[in-house]
């Protein structure tokens, strides 16, 4: 919404397939206008179209299936994978609305979106519980277990062997100097307004870093990634919050900073914006699941069943995202790569005939 240039998700999937269909239609029109001597060709073209129409099943709903295009990579790739399967396997039209976590949840509740492919529960625990209480959204399938941590690069860990845990940070504030606040270090928190920003800033207070570090919330995920990537390339010391699986964590050699063991009560307070007296606690494992609008679920039970059955092993996800980072490909191309190379994973999500149709379209 505010960064349309960043989300390739708005573009239609599989343009080559669509172009092919369009070419068919145009050919038809031309043929109809032509004289009778082309009747044989017309019959041939018509037959070809009829044959391809018979192969495609009817979609359960007569409007495009709407995906939330939250603009982080794992979501973009999985959305494209699901779109390919829904389009080729189930014969539906799809569209992606580029958006961000909380607006997407609001849109899902309202029914403006049908599917939020990735919901990271811990980052949106409160808003999610509220949305679920309305009865208009439902947690469908668990995709994988994500996680979050405070990281330093391996070379920083080697330069500062005594820096093991987040509580040690104040001693090393000069190593992470913030050029805009002389005398303080800079901790790169979570992008402004994201759910994880609340936890980051509470944890920052809980560890008593206010006097020694600035909590630097980048304005967007892209800017955060750009700053961290540049720092890593230049071998500068950085300390930052990040989550995984992501291309960034997959492609960099990072070390997690230790946090006090996970404590449920402390964590609950950390996720609340009004937490009075935050206590440090490690990040819990973060279930990432697909959320569906319940209206959509009723209209399209078969599709809902498909979405409920999706799950991806974490190593496969890491591999996919590392592939994305290496090739610099767009989500669509990576999705195609995934569908070709990870058949053992996605064919489990769908009945055999659906899988066959998707494979035929590849």
């Amino acid at each position: 919404m505010i960064s349309p240039t960043l989300s390739p998700a708005g573009a239609p999937a599989w343009p080559q397939v669509r172009a092919h269909v369009h070419a068919h239609v145009r050919a038809h029109v031309r043929l109809r206008r032509a004289a009778g001597r082309l009747a044989a060709a017309l019959a041939l073209g018509g037959a070809a179209c009829a044959a391809s129409a018979a192969g495609a099943p009817a979609c359960e709903i007569d409007r495009p299936v709407r995906f939330g295009g939250m603009n982080w990579e794992s979501n973009l790739v999985l959305v494209e994978v699901e779109r390919a399967i829904v389009e080729h396997g189930y014969g539906c039209r799809t569209e992606v609305l580029p958006t961000e976590t909380l607006p997407a949840l609001a849109a899902l509740t309202r029914g403006d979106l049908d599917i939020n492919t990735e919901v990271w529960l811990n980052s949106v625990a409160d808003p999610w519980n509220k949305a679920e209480a309305t009865g208009r959204v439902r947690r469908a399938g668990d995709l994988y277990m994500g996680g979050e941590a405070w990281f330093i690069p391996r070379y920083t860990a080697e330069r500062l062997p005594e820096l093991k845990s987040a509580a040690d940070l104040p001693r090393f504030k000069d190593e992470f100097e913030d050029p805009e606040e002389p005398g303080k270090g800079r901790f790169y928190g979570c992008p402004a307004g994201w759910g994880c920003e609340v936890v980051s800033s509470n944890l920052y207070r809980a560890l008593g870093l206010q006097d020694s570090y600035t909590l630097y919330s980048p304005g967007t995920g892209a800017a955060q990634k750009a700053a961290l990537t540049a720092a890593y390339k230049r071998k500068q010391n950085v300390v930052f919050y990040y989550w995984y699986p992501t291309p960034l964590v997959g492609s960099m050699d990072l070390v997690k900073l230790e946090l006090p063991p996970y404590d449920k009560d402390a964590q609950e307070c950390l996720t609340s914006p009004d937490c009075k007296d935050p206590k440090p606690s490690a990040y819990p494992e973060n279930p990432v699941f697909t959320a569906l609008n319940t209206g959509f679920e009723k209209q399209a039970p078969t599709l809902a069943k498909f979405f409920a059955g999706i799950s991806v092993p974490l190593p496969a996800m890491d591999e996919t995202l590392a592939h994305m980072e290496e090739t610099g490909d767009e989500a669509q191309a990576v999705a195609e790569w995934f569908l070709k190379n990870k058949q053992d994973i996605w064919t489990k999500w769908v009945p055999a005939e659906v899988a066959a149709r998707v494979q035929a379209a590849l």
Binding site: I2, T5, L6, E100, A192, G219, A223, A230
Partner: protein, 285 residues
């Protein structure tokens, strides 16, 4: 499909590799160059934020009085600035104000000399016009991300992005203003034996001043419209509040910060405009 003459993927890859190369080899040097600017900006921001609010308001009223010589204008400007404080955004407002002052100052330093050069050298004009078009239309995120990679997150990339976007109208209007100066007036000055330098500073610039002031006015307005974008790459202030409001779906926070941006815009607009008007009246006399 359009025939593929060059591989788009390779082209993108080459650009990526070039930026990577810049980042690994030149980022330290660029950061060192930008360091004095950063220090100036940090100093200005600290000064504005730590000064008592009434001092800042009085200073703005004094400036408004000096440029416009109208009591009502001066009072109105003071009230407007107080309005930002009443909305609870004084600190954010001062951060934005310091960024604006710095961006506008840099724009004037870059824009006016360039505009003068463009008015005198027609080849420079031919080169600069398409460049200005690109600067005004290229989506800012396209160059924001490389700038972030080169200068790090924070105020410097925000200033660079703001200046790129905001300086074109000043260049264009300076160029226009100088070229619009009456040929006969110039001839008369030459007849009295004015050197080219005297012509520029004694005749052309004073007569072009209303246009230049309009350019500065446009530049400040466009710089203010960039504050939300600038906040995406780590500039604090009102734009950041708007961004927070949008991302957290807090309509109230976004709207109030938006109103404060409008208040600052009116402030800059009225002050620069009334200065331009006074110039014009002076020129008419």
């Amino acid at each position: 499909m359009f025939p593929e003459l060059i591989s788009a993927r390779d082209l993108r890859g080459a650009i990526d590799a070039f930026v990577d190369h810049l980042v690994t080899d030149y980022a330290d040097a660029l950061e060192a160059i930008s360091h004095p600017f950063l220090q100036l900006l940090v100093w200005l921001e600290q000064a504005l934020r730590s000064a008592p609010w009434w001092l800042v308001v009085l200073a703005v009223m004094a400036i408004a009085w000096l440029v416009g010589r109208r009591v009502l204008l001066s009072l109105g400007m003071g009230l407007l600035l107080c309005g930002v404080g009443v909305l609870g955004l004084w600190d954010a407002g001062m951060q934005t104000l310091s960024l604006m002052i710095m961006a506008t100052g840099l724009s004037v330093l870059i824009g006016i000399p360039l505009g003068i050069a463009m008015a005198r050298l027609s080849w420079l004009r031919a080169v600069m016009l398409p460049v200005l078009d690109v600067m005004q239309t290229m989506p800012s995120f396209v160059y924001l991300i490389p700038v972030v990679m080169l200068f790090g997150l924070g105020k410097i990339p925000a200033i660079i992005a703001t200046v790129i976007y905001a300086v074109p109208p000043l260049i264009r209007l300076t160029d226009l203003g100088i070229r619009l100066v009456d040929r006969e007036v110039l001839e008369a000055s030459r007849a009295f034996g004015a050197t080219p330098r005297q012509q520029l500073f004694g005749v052309q610039l004073p007569l072009a001043l209303p246009n230049i002031m309009a350019g500065i006015n446009q530049t400040t307005m466009m710089a203010l419209s960039m504050v939300v974008i600038a906040s995406m790459i780590g500039a604090r202030g009102l734009g950041y509040e708007v961004l927070l409001g949008i991302n957290r779906l807090e309509v109230g926070r976004g709207l109030v910060a938006g109103l404060a941006i409008v208040a600052l815009a009116i402030l800059f607009d009225r002050i620069t405009q009334s200065y331009g008007q006074r110039m014009r009246r002076g020129a008419a006399r």
